[in-house]
């Protein structure tokens, strides 16, 4: 973690390009130049300890139409979160206040990405994260001990192993708590006093045992509404958060654009040099949109699937198909493989979804194949892979 922070600090100070060394670089590295450019041009009022002002954070996430000047060059800030600008604005203002931010929504609606973007823009780092699981314990949330040191020297500060929450409070940065509702309710509740009083009590350290949060500290939680009822949050904890519901993207055009952008980024990172087919992206965006909404563009009712039909899933289906074509040295992306990948993605939870998917092919895709032809005709031919 410390090494990573040093690297990020160097990027902001010196602006050099870091050779890719990560499978998935954190946001602050991926968009290091944009962050540096915004920081250099940021004249807005900032809450204490914030890396960027709220206005610059907004620009970082929602993009700017006019380029900004940085080191003698015009730098365009790209839009990174699509669908609901007002939601992003509310998130920023929430984090500037006393309350935590809880992002809830269907899986694959970019909640995690939004929390990473917010953390990177506000605190300069998005990696100070607690991953909520059924096995998360209070130690993992608050602090634990280096037992060798503890046994040798007793409970001293050096023996304390800080958790991401501890780090967030001491450094005045955002702590991200992923999938908070996967964590047992009594463990979740250990956040209550931290969020109310902004203080963490470490009784073992006696007089030195109070950690007061530095300005800039806050918590961004994410929760999946499919986990609802697993570990319901207590109302006491709910009161300490402002909730934002992140919905799937409603606009097919936008969804297509996201598929294209995301697949392109991943392809560059993995050195896959194959062109991205916009028609296939559109086909996938329409298919996902219709299966998610349960109605076709022409108003035909479709059985809704129980599987998660998120944009992230669509990106994954496309990227898998693209990788397949690249590594097996095919000339272009194969629709039959796309359908197979779609089938694998859809039929994870329930076999009933296969019937529903077949129904979709036999009604909507068939009609479109007859009326529009082209790629839809080819897509319809691949229905035989739905076995």
């Amino acid at each position: 973690m410390r090494i990573l922070h040093q690297m990020i600090g160097t990027i902001f100070k010196e602006g050099f390009h870091l050779e890719k060394k990560f499978i998935k670089p954190p946001v602050e590295i991926r968009y290091a130049e944009e962050l540096a450019a915004l920081k250099a041009n940021d004249k807005g009022r900032k809450p204490e300890n914030w890396f960027l002002s709220p206005k610059a954070v907004r620009t970082f996430i929602l993009g700017s139409q006019e380029p900004i000047e940085y080191k003698g060059e015009q730098k365009t800030i790209s839009k990174k979160f699509f669908g609901n600008d007002a939601l992003v604005e509310r998130c920023i203002i929430t984090l500037a206040g006393n309350r935590g931010l809880m992002l809830v929504g269907e899986p694959g609606t970019a909640k995690t990405m939004l929390s990473e973007l917010l953390s990177a823009a506000i605190s300069g780092t998005s990696t100070n994260t607690i991953q909520g699981t059924a096995g998360t314990t209070e130690d993992m949330i608050k602090y634990s001990w280096n037992y060798a040191l503890l046994l040798a020297k007793g409970p001293i500060k050096e023996a304390l192993v800080p958790s991401p929450l501890y780090t967030g409070m001491s450094k005045g940065i955002i702590t991200r708590f992923e999938e908070i509702t996967r964590t047992p309710a009594e463990i979740q509740d250990s956040l209550i006093s931290v969020m109310s009083d902004k203080v963490l009590n470490i009784p073992e350290l006696e007089e030195e045992g109070l950690l007061f949060a530095n300005p800039g500290f806050n918590i961004i939680g994410t929760a999946n509404i499919r986990d609802k009822g697993v570990n319901e949050m207590s109302s006491a904890l709910k009161r300490r958060f402002n909730f934002e519901t992140v919905n799937p993207i409603q606009n097919v055009k936008l969804e297509k654009q996201i598929i294209l952008n995301e697949v392109e980024q991943s392809a560059i990172a993995d050195k896959i040099e194959m062109p991205i087919d916009t028609d296939v992206a559109e086909l996938l965006a329409i298919t996902y949109h219709e299966l998610r909404e349960g109605v076709s563009e022409t108003g035909v009712k479709i059985d809704k699937l129980t599987a998660v039909m998120s944009t992230a899933e669509a990106v994954s289906v496309y990227y898998q198909t693209l990788s397949n074509a690249w590594y097996y040295e095919e000339d272009e992306i194969q629709l039959s493989e796309l359908t197979e990948n779609l089938y694998n993605a859809v039929c994870k939870d329930s076999r009933d979804d296969l019937e529903k998917l077949r129904g979709y092919f036999n009604t909507v895709v068939k009609t479109r194949a007859e009326e529009v032809g082209g790629i839809w005709k080819e897509f319809y031919k691949t229905r035989k892979y739905l076995k």
């Binding site: 709220p54 206005k55 600008d85 604005e89 509310r90 929430t94 949050m233 402002n242």
Partner: protein, 805 residues
């Protein structure tokens, strides 16, 4: 953005100069900012005449609108009856509203004129004339639930502003408008504001095709307004013209030319054809979210802002706080109302919400928080958990509060139709609240309390006039034949703008609501040729407590004689029989229902024999009617006798190729009267059994009809069980599967205990016990509930009451 909206070039094209003899002030309807600057301009310019956009035929109502006792919202209600078919061949009635709120610039212009004792008038074409010059489905002829005279769609649906919204990151035209025209307006001079409006409207006009303006009557209206302005300019030296901003460039262009403006010849419509009335209006109806095309969203919020402007005259004390105060006020009201509805909203939530709306306004470069920041902070801080229909209560409460529930009141001198006066009197008499849009509930014990029966009749009358005032929630439904066993009625009622307008519309039919309903029902009756429809109208009159006139009696009699539709006559019988039996309960004297019932009965007896060849689709309905006639004859009513009916039944069974189900049902009815028909029935069933497979199928259909009227025939002896056994055995598997639904339907008429008895006899034929042949399928609660729900939905789709086949 401010640069675009402060386009100096446009200001040169349409100057705003207090030295000019005519000043054009562009407005958006119901905008507090426009009202605020308009009043400033009037103070500065000191006009000697103010001309306002609005149909000219309402000029005589200006004193009513500006009377100090009139409380807004109020509206002018225009109607035009196209009896001469000038609009189109359909000859429809047209109506529309022109609402005024405290925030309306038009209203404030007229009030200022009154204060200054200067001339003011409307300058637009009368309503009927606008209709005549508008193409179908365009402008004022666009089909909407609530038709309005004014419409801001030119400003809000323009493509240029969609682009501007996208560029500025604002969610909608309304948010764009609020940021740049409502909030910003408080921080700029009136001249700057006029320039900004002018730029905006000029751009909107530039992006609107001339053909569209031509078709929706915009251009001809401007021509008429321009000629009125020119006429006024001959008499007055300082004229202020207040019109929707979209018209300002058009008017300026027309009047800037030295050319003569062609006169538009008006029709000389009588008051019965075209007229206008003042009426109360509600903030709820004036909300853009409720489909009012010229409205601003949540008018209650902007009324509060306007009140702030008036209390805190910006010229003297500065403008800061006007919006923040309104936002905070509504936020606190929302929290209070939320807590009443058991949504826990704490002081911490409120304080967090305040931080949020202030922070958002800064982030969005707004000079003060507005409606959108208010919604955002309630969503972010008051909604706990996922936003869905169960958790969005705070947002719904906010919507209600921000829309407002106020209803206006007209001054004592306002012209009122006799029906409106009668309505008010009756509301007072029955102690009904007539000034609330909140739903009120009342339970009426109609059979034991005469006063309650009167209220019920009043509600039925209002419903008949389509006044959107009262709705029966519970109680017997005589028209649909449901819940007939209920002895109480529960009604909900509340005011809506349709209440007053429906009463104005119905004024032509009488001086009281009851009289109007009587005349209108007779009018409807004259347009009817079906006995069923006439009887339904008769039933409505019964519920409304209206005596049927001699003319109506003659008309119904005539309809019965001329109507040749068997099913329509049968509907008549249903209604007349029911009303005849309910007359004592409903305290209706001198009812002619029995007379009509006899007439219908005589007529249907003549028609009955020919129904034996009815197609299978209608046979079930025919069986139902035959059963109804049979029960009617059993009641021993005067003039309704068994004999003619049985003669008709006997004629029917003699016919060749009868419809099997109906044939079975008629034989069953005859068996009910005379058990000797048992032999005939077994003979017929044997006949079906000795034919081809097609005949076997008809045998199953015959059984369905027979069991619907005489199921006991199976339970006497085992002769019929054996015949049914033969019938079933005769089918091939394929044909059996085909006929199975028919057989299932046939046996559905039996009670569970009867099924047990049949099973026993059937089992005995094969030396088995009843338990061996009976399939005891357990019916789960979920299955039953799903079945009921399915039936309900199918009935709703088919439009038939539940329980009917």
């Amino acid at each position: 953005m401010e640069r675009i909206l402060q386009n100096k070039k446009i200001f040169k094209i349409i100057p705003f100069d207090y030295k000019q003899p005519i000043i054009y002030f562009p407005i958006r309807h119901h905008s507090p900012a426009c009202s605020f600057h308009l009043i400033n301009v009037i103070r500065e310019y000191e006009p000697d005449c103010i001309l306002v956009e609005g149909p000219q035929n309402a000029n005589q109502l200006i004193p009513v609108l500006t009377d100090e006792d009139t409380i807004l919202p109020a509206a002018f209600y225009y109607f035009y009856k196209d009896t001469d078919k000038l609009v189109n061949e359909e000859g429809n009635d047209y109506k529309c509203y022109y609402p005024f709120l405290n925030t309306s610039p038009e209203y404030n212009a007229l009030m200022e004129a009154k204060k200054r004792n200067i001339e003011s008038s409307f300058i637009d074409l009368p309503y009927g004339e606008i209709l005549l010059h508008t193409a179908e489905n365009m402008g004022i002829r666009t089909k909407r639930e609530i038709a309005n005279y004014n419409d801001d769609s030119y400003l809000s649906e323009n493509k240029i502003f969609h682009a501007l919204c996208e560029k500025t990151g604002l969610r909608s035209f309304e948010e764009f408008w609020e940021k740049f025209f409502e909030i910003d307006a408080l921080y700029i001079s009136s001249e700057e504001f006029a320039a900004r409006m002018m730029s905006y409207c000029y751009l909107a006009r530039q992006n609107t095709p001339k053909e569209k303006m031509q078709k929706d009557g915009c251009l001809i209206r401007e021509q008429y307004m321009a000629s009125n302005i020119r006429e006024a300019s001959k008499k007055y030296k300082r004229i202020l013209v207040v019109t929707g901003g979209f018209h300002t460039p058009g008017l300026y262009e027309l009047l800037g030319q030295e050319k003569k403006i062609p006169k538009i010849k008006l029709h000389n419509f009588s008051e019965e054809i075209q007229n206008v009335y003042p009426m109360r209006y509600s903030l709820e109806a004036a909300d853009a979210l409720n489909g009012y095309a010229a409205g601003m969203q949540n008018p209650g919020f902007y009324e509060m802002v306007w009140q702030g402007m008036k209390n805190k005259s910006p010229l003297k004390e500065g403008v800061s706080g006007i919006y923040s105060d309104a936002v905070l006020d509504i936020l606190l009201k929302t929290a209070k109302a939320g807590n009443k509805e058991n949504v826990l909203i704490t002081m911490s939530d409120i304080s967090s919400a305040v931080t949020m709306y202030e922070g958002l306004s800064l982030l969005r470069d707004k000079k003060a928080p507005g409606l959108y920041e208010l919604y955002d902070c309630v969503q972010g801080c008051f909604v706990k958990g996922e936003l869905n229909a169960a958790s969005d209560i705070p947002l719904r409460i906010l919507g209600k509060i921000a829309t407002g529930s106020k209803i206006g009141k007209l001054c004592a001198d306002a012209p009122k139709t006799p029906l409106l006066i009668n309505f008010e009197e009756l509301c007072v008499k029955y102690k009904l609240k007539r000034n609330t849009i909140l739903e009120q509930k009342i339970e009426l014990d109609i059979f034991s309390k005469p006063h309650h029966l009167e209220i019920s009749r009043f509600f039925y009358q209002m419903d008949f006039l389509d006044a959107d005032f009262a709705k029966r929630i519970k109680g017997a439904d005589i028209i649909q034949n449901t819940d007939r066993s209920r002895i109480r009625e529960v009604w909900s009622y509340s005011y809506s703008i349709k209440t007053d307008s429906a009463l104005i519309d119905a004024s032509a039919y009488g001086g009281t609501i009851k009289e109007a309903c009587g005349v209108l029902s007779l009018k409807n009756l004259k347009n009817t040729q079906k006995c069923g429809e006439a009887a339904k109208l008769y039933a409505q009159c019964f519920l409304m407590g209206i005596d049927v006139s001699e003319e109506a009696v003659r008309k119904i009699e005539d309809i019965i004689i001329k109507d040749g539709d068997f099913f329509s006559i049968s509907k008549g019988i249903y209604y007349f029989d029911m009303l005849d039996s309910l007359k004592t309960l409903y305290h209706i004297e001198n009812i002619t229902a029995e007379y009509f019932l006899n007439k219908c009965f005589q007529k249907i007896i003549i028609m009955l024999p020919s129904m034996i060849h009815v197609n299978a689709e209608h046979s079930q309905e025919c069986i139902k009617i035959c059963k109804m006639l049979y029960h009617l004859a059993s009641k021993n009513k005067t003039n309704i006798e068994y004999e003619p009916l049985f003669e008709a039944f006997q004629t029917m069974i003699l016919a060749k190729d009868p419809e099997p189900a109906l044939y079975g049902a008629i034989l069953g009815l005859l068996y009910g009267k005379d058990t000797l028909y048992r032999t005939k029935i077994s003979g017929v069933l044997n006949g079906y059994l000795s034919g081809s497979e097609e005949m076997y199928s008809q045998g199953a259909v015959f059984l369905r009809g027979l069991f619907s009227t005489a199921r006991d025939i199976v339970l006497v002896g085992d002769e019929f069980i054996k015949m049914i056994n033969r019938l079933i055995k005769a089918f091939s598997m394929e044909n059996f599967m085909e006929i199975l639904p028919e057989l299932k339907l046939a046996f559905s008429y039996f009670l569970p205990s009867e099924i047990d008895s049949i099973a026993k006899k059937a089992a005995a034929l094969y030396d088995k016990k009843a338990e061996d042949v009976k399939e005891n399928l357990e019916l789960y609660k979920d299955m039953y509930t799903t079945g009921l729900q399915l039936e309900k939905e199918i009935c709703a789709l088919l439009g038939t009451p539940q329980g009917e086949q």
